[in-house]
Symmetry: C3
Amino acid sequence: MGDKLHIGKMMYQWAVDLFPVCRSITGEGVRQTLNYLQGIVPSIQIKEVKSGEQAFDWIVPDEWTIRKAYIADENGNRIIDFKNNNLHLVSYSTPIDKWFKKEDLEQYLHSLPDQPDAIPYVTSYYSKNWGFCLSHKQKESLSPGNYHVVVDSDLKPGVLNYGELVLPGSTDKEILISTYICHPSMANNELSGPVVVTAIAKWLLSLENRYYTYRIIYVPETIGSIVYLSKNAEHLKENVIAGFNVTCVGDDRTFSFLPSRKGNTLADRVTEHVLKHSVNKYDKYSFLDRGSDERQYCSPGIDLPVCSVMRSKYGTYPEYHTSLDDLDLISPQGLDGAYQILIKIMETIECNKKYTTVFPCEPQLGKRGLYPNLGAKKHSKEIADMMNVLAYSDGSLDLIELAEIVGKDALYVHTILIKLQQSGLVEIVKS
Amino acid sequence: MGDKLHIGKMMYQWAVDLFPVCRSITGEGVRQTLNYLQGIVPSIQIKEVKSGEQAFDWIVPDEWTIRKAYIADENGNRIIDFKNNNLHLVSYSTPIDKWFKKEDLEQYLHSLPDQPDAIPYVTSYYSKNWGFCLSHKQKESLSPGNYHVVVDSDLKPGVLNYGELVLPGSTDKEILISTYICHPSMANNELSGPVVVTAIAKWLLSLENRYYTYRIIYVPETIGSIVYLSKNAEHLKENVIAGFNVTCVGDDRTFSFLPSRKGNTLADRVTEHVLKHSVNKYDKYSFLDRGSDERQYCSPGIDLPVCSVMRSKYGTYPEYHTSLDDLDLISPQGLDGAYQILIKIMETIECNKKYTTVFPCEPQLGKRGLYPNLGAKKHSKEIADMMNVLAYSDGSLDLIELAEIVGKDALYVHTILIKLQQSGLVEIVKS
Amino acid sequence: MGDKLHIGKMMYQWAVDLFPVCRSITGEGVRQTLNYLQGIVPSIQIKEVKSGEQAFDWIVPDEWTIRKAYIADENGNRIIDFKNNNLHLVSYSTPIDKWFKKEDLEQYLHSLPDQPDAIPYVTSYYSKNWGFCLSHKQKESLSPGNYHVVVDSDLKPGVLNYGELVLPGSTDKEILISTYICHPSMANNELSGPVVVTAIAKWLLSLENRYYTYRIIYVPETIGSIVYLSKNAEHLKENVIAGFNVTCVGDDRTFSFLPSRKGNTLADRVTEHVLKHSVNKYDKYSFLDRGSDERQYCSPGIDLPVCSVMRSKYGTYPEYHTSLDDLDLISPQGLDGAYQILIKIMETIECNKKYTTVFPCEPQLGKRGLYPNLGAKKHSKEIADMMNVLAYSDGSLDLIELAEIVGKDALYVHTILIKLQQSGLVEIVKS
């Protein structure tokens, strides 16, 4: 516990354990992943929705089962084998067992000429298809001849799974945390999200008091959040005061913030405040740069106050959606950096009340030991901060707005407010 | 018709035909000009208002008739003759037939020392006076001696004329287009306005459907717009949603925009949007730089949403209000550039509706052929634009606001919206 | 009177007279100062509030009387003597008569190592204590040995005094001017405030008409404004439309502006407008940099529209709160600069009405002699200003807003409006 990276290492180990699992938007890999996380936080509930069920404009797809998949040469050598790397197979590939001439096979092979060592990540969820992914180097080296293609998979009615954890607080008002569990063997995008969120769940469970109710969901991206919203949108619209889409939180190259569509919700304000006061620099994106489940949470007709907190954002780093996004890309430090920021965001929301002074004019701080006895040329910075906090505690500003005005970290401002509250000089505005 | 400059050349020819006419705020030159334009667009109505009629703080002035005007030397040589260039005579000059010594004549002679080759344009509408304008070079060369000054003019009760063309649309809501027909032989300021506006009138007449009603007026500057407003202000205030003062639209040096007094009307928004997405650069002026009929349209108590769309703005180019503002200054290209921008402005207003998505969350584009079947590293720009348009079609933004947010040309955004509308994914908000 | 610095010199002489008086937050020095100012403006009323009276969170302190104070060496030489400079004694020092060894005395001696020639200004109003201030040079030169410390003072129930001057106008709405009279022998901070404010009082008394009622108060800083507010807050909140804390207005190094807490009150708008149009540059501070009685006037629950107008702001210049802030630091020029700005602020507020045009469209200026008879290439700047003023006199903007839009000094805009009003073209909006 004396180890500052204790939690970062724990999260990293979870990622190591989960890395080999072949996740997709449905199927056994999703369940294995949720079961593993439930092992850590037993109160996570694993839900299921049947294939064919309608969710707004979408239909829950058939469940995909993959047993094996490979391409063998004429000698029976498996030159590409799903069991070596689950990125080798296009996700949701339909079954096949057939010989192809090299030239006929090529249309089914996906590679990245610009990244000749990387296996790309390709999916075909809503169009029946199959395909293999491989490094461009390997693709270039294929000899002419015949190849035996085997995909032993099923695509048939089953269920779509997701995880849900609701931690009640003193109020029904909720903080939503969403992450996704549909990506196969990749690390920043996306095992980092589930492991960081699970560590946050453990932290929330460890709190003696929670003012807000916390709702944490682990969904397959896009279809999962749409299904979840189709069942819960009214409840969420009524109760969620801030939400966070947690994705790409494992590397340690930068921090990133992608605002909600409205751009000025509590989620946006708290996130940008915490980043500004906690890290040297961060990348601020536009909602036009979005690409994860905030697309659904912020869509017209849903309009939840959800922003995204990330380290290197999806789509912006070279390893993105390839086999290079592996366990070397993420680190205990990287995971821990995101965890600390998210914890600080939650802590800040928990104490984001409005404060008002008790007396008109400045109170007499000296008689309460809050002010030096001798008046001279300069005040200390602490006194100046306290005076500024008092000057703006007019009952109209919440803690974050107050902290922005006085130019200090909200949690530090909160310590001042607690001291002033204990001295009877400020009080919380009843909302 | 294969000629891209077909319309530009047509407009230029109209300018050539109208250039020699001696226009002023009243009189035969105005009627000749309006008759010529009526020859092109027969539905233009030529109206008249009697001298002496009150228009707010103004009185319609007497009508000016000019037959001849010259200054001759002692030998009878006409050294300055109105028939050579109608700028030679101060507009609204009163009659005179008298000999002057050179030194007594000089106070009646106007020239520009800084532009020694240019004849200036001078008027004296509201103070009885006469005078001649000439190049400074010529003025400097006048020999001592006596000069015979002849102005054969009348200034007596008559009428003030203006042209009006109302093209009904599906709604009574109107787009106002105003230009002026009081300037004598000058080209950018101002034959360009009437000829471009007349070409727009032809284009509007060629449309199968017009959503808006279009009101086009050809007035003498200042007194004409004041007279027009004194008769129509209530109707205009109720119906005009956007208006454009079209002036100085003939050269090809730049584009210019001068906002309305409020600065954020539909006219301002559409004009700046179209300019931003259509030309490399344009000059944006302040309403403090105004100088044409937007002075009346935007005045307190009138407050119409009228801005000015120009090429080189009056007062900013060296040839302004001199004989150098001639047919060489304008060109088919210059006129066509302004014409195209104004057409695009009208087209953009015509489709400036509010759109809303039909489904909560993103719709499933793939099953409608609007999305690629294989998910991989990057979307095409077209897909990204469509997703962005969907994300902001929340029913609160009009097309121009939506286009501004997604950072694309409104007419391009409109093609996306049409496609989405045909796929049942967005619909127009009933207003 | 032909002397442009007549008033500046008069103010400077008052400062010279008042400089030696030992002011504090209570006591004889305050009364001497107020009596002197009453000698200049007899209608200043001197009020008193009893020690022990409650004022919000504060209690009016005991009155301090100081008769003599010195430190003598073993030979009876008074090496530090209050009668040489009243900064030598910590303000509100309690009585003592005792011998100290040098090493025991040192904790009671205050000096500034960074400013070895300056005697610092130190106070201990609310904690019973005593101490001496001296230059660091002198402190360093003290020989070992015994010292005789004598403070012959009283601290016992008495009164707190302040001055008040109310000059009625045509309306009950008030302009508040506040300055403070608690600082001993220092010049910029703070004899400049009382002398400049007293000159303004004389000027206000000399006016034939005052639209607004003016309330001028001379209070001890902090406790004085709190006491005053505890008695008058409701009246002030109802009536004060703008207020000015006048402090540090004696040097000639810069001008400074510190906005009210809200930052956009009439006081802020007028002050910044006047500074912008009257001085080459000024320093604009944030309310976070505050440090004088605007702390009380702008506190939550009081919220008066009060800003501070200064030359070199307290805390920003090296001589601040030391014996170097003496009569050499201020000058007739410095005092006069602040006086002129404040006068201009009052003049601007006095004519800060809303104006509206009488006619729709532009009026015909020519027939009223307000426009040149000949129309040619350019208008004069004066005509352009008049046209701009007319264009924005829509009844919604007050004089200052109008002046900001047309980019000219409000008092100059006012001369245009008067001319237009006399011509029947604009009128004041009845409020």
